[in-house]
Each structure stands twice: as C-alpha cells, then as structure tokens.
C-alpha cells in the first residue's frame, strides 16, 4: 500500500515506539518485582537496551550508543559481578522477604505513579512551536563539550578519576 505509507510516514516509528516501550516496561517491572536478584540483573539488560532504542527514536543516536557502551557494557557488568560475588541463596531462603515492606513499597509507588500520571496528562506542556526538530548528532555534542560545557566535562573527568581511586582504595586487601 504505497499511498498509505506515503500518507503515514510515522506509522513504523510509532509501532516500534510502543513495542520498545512494552519491552522496557515489562523487563523493568520484572527487574523490580522478581524475587531472584540474578534474574533482576539479567532483566535490567533488556530495560537498558530498550532505553537506547527510545533515545534513537527521540533523535539522539549518540546518547543511545553511550547508553549501550557505558550502561550495558560497564554498569550492568559491575552489577552482575556484585550479584555473583555476594549472592547467597541459603540466606534468602531462610529469611524470606518482609511482606510488610513489599506492601508499603507498592502502595507508595502506586501513589507516586498516580500523582505523576495526573501531572503528565493534565499539564499544558509548552512544546516547541518551531518546525525545526532538534538534532542530537555527534558534531554539535562534540563541539559544545569542548566549548560551552567544558567545565562540567573536565569536572566529570576528575570525578571519574576520584571514583576509580576511591573504589580501588575501598576494596584493597589490608595487610595486618
């Protein structure tokens, strides 16, 4: 149906948006609600990759690649290490989970979600009237990182260095 496609250039993008949103929400909900912490970490993988897809749909492939490299390739691997190094199934089976905690958490999150959704759907958002869509390409990001955002950029580098040194200091073997 070529005439339909010409009349509806956004149809594919809209369909892929809802598919990716479903992936993100289902895997995010699974990561939040499953009992098994290993499964939660694995489920977080799909959430993070889906978020990268949403960033592409929002027009910034650069942020999507950054998300995949740093979040999936770095933070998620760190979380996996943490899960596998500290997991003790016997402990979990013995203690069980505090039911009261779960009920309170779900009530609080439901209340927050209702407030947020009411805000989202009742506020008159001031969306741009400009016909020119913003383009989050690599070239303007790179130029602004070294001009307008130079100070935050350097501070982020310093922070990463301090974090690296601090983490290495914290987990060193003490000789006694």
């Amino acid at each position: 149906m070529p005439e339909t496609l010409a009349a509806a250039p956004w149809q594919g993008a809209n369909l892929s948006f809802w598919l990716i949103a479903a992936l993100v929400l289902i895997s995010g909900g699974f990561a939040a609600f499953t009992r098994n912490i290993v499964q939660a970490a694995y489920s977080l993988f799909f959430t993070l990759v889906g978020m990268a897809g949403l960033y592409i749909l929002l027009g910034s492939p650069f942020l999507a690649i950054t998300q995949v490299i740093i979040y999936v390739g770095g933070i998620l691997v760190l979380l996996m290490f943490g899960v596998l190094l500290t997991n003790r199934p016997l402990e979990r089976a013995r203690r069980g989970q505090g039911r009261l905690y779960v009920v309170g958490a779900v009530v609080a999150a439901l209340a927050l979600a209702m407030v947020l959704l009411r805000i989202v759907f009742t506020t008159e958002w001031m969306t741009g009237s400009a016909a020119v869509e913003p383009v989050g390409g690599t070239r303007p990001i790179g130029r602004l990182l070294l001009t307008e955002y130079l100070l935050p950029f350097e501070l982020a580098g310093m922070l990463l260095l301090l974090g690296l040194i601090g983490a290495a200091y914290l987990v060193r073997r003490r000789e006694t």
Binding site: W10, F33, I37, M51, L63, L116, T127, G128, G136, G163
Partner: protein, 117 residues
Amino acid sequence: MSGLSAFLALDGGAPVGLHAYLLVAALLFAFGLTACLARRNAIGILIGIELILNAAILNFMAFWRFGASGDDVSGPMFGIFMIILAACEAAVALAVLLNLYFNFGTVEVDDIAQLRR
C-alpha cells in the same frame, strides 16, 4: 476507543507525542521506587536506582525533543553527564558493597545495622 487509538497514534496520523514518553518514564520511575523500597538486598536497591536514573534521562530527552529546536543539544548533554555520574556511583557503590560482604558476610540491608563490627 477512538481516544485510545489517537493516543497510541497507530493509524499514523502523527508521531507519538510527549505524553507517551512521559508515561513510560513515570511508570519506570514507579518501578524503580518499588525496587528501592521493597528490596532487602543492597544490589536490588542499586538496580532500582538505575531504573530511576533511566526514567529521569528519558524525561530530559523527551522534553528536549519536543521543546527545543535547532542546534540545541542540552537533552543528550544532560543524558551523557547523568550516565557518567551513574557509572561513578555504581563503581563506588559496588566497592562499598564488596567491603560490607567481606566484613559482615551478607548484603541484606536489615542485617547491617552497625557502622563496624
């Protein structure tokens, strides 16, 4: 039903709008808050924090995409810096958790009620 179909925008009349992205971000934030509050395992709490951070980045990106114009790249810029901070936070948090595990033999936050043994 027509309202739902217009919101989903599957008939292709228009691209999905700001509300759809904000809806996804709000639900993701609620999931993250649930994980933070309900989990007793410190790494589970960290997973919840990552969900919350991702919801915040999605909000920044959505408002940028539907509010900014031209050469303005403040949305991805916010996202990049938040991802950097998240990486830093995860590294330090994992170091602290491994230390806790060496000292207490567990990362269940209910069992760790003292600053030192």
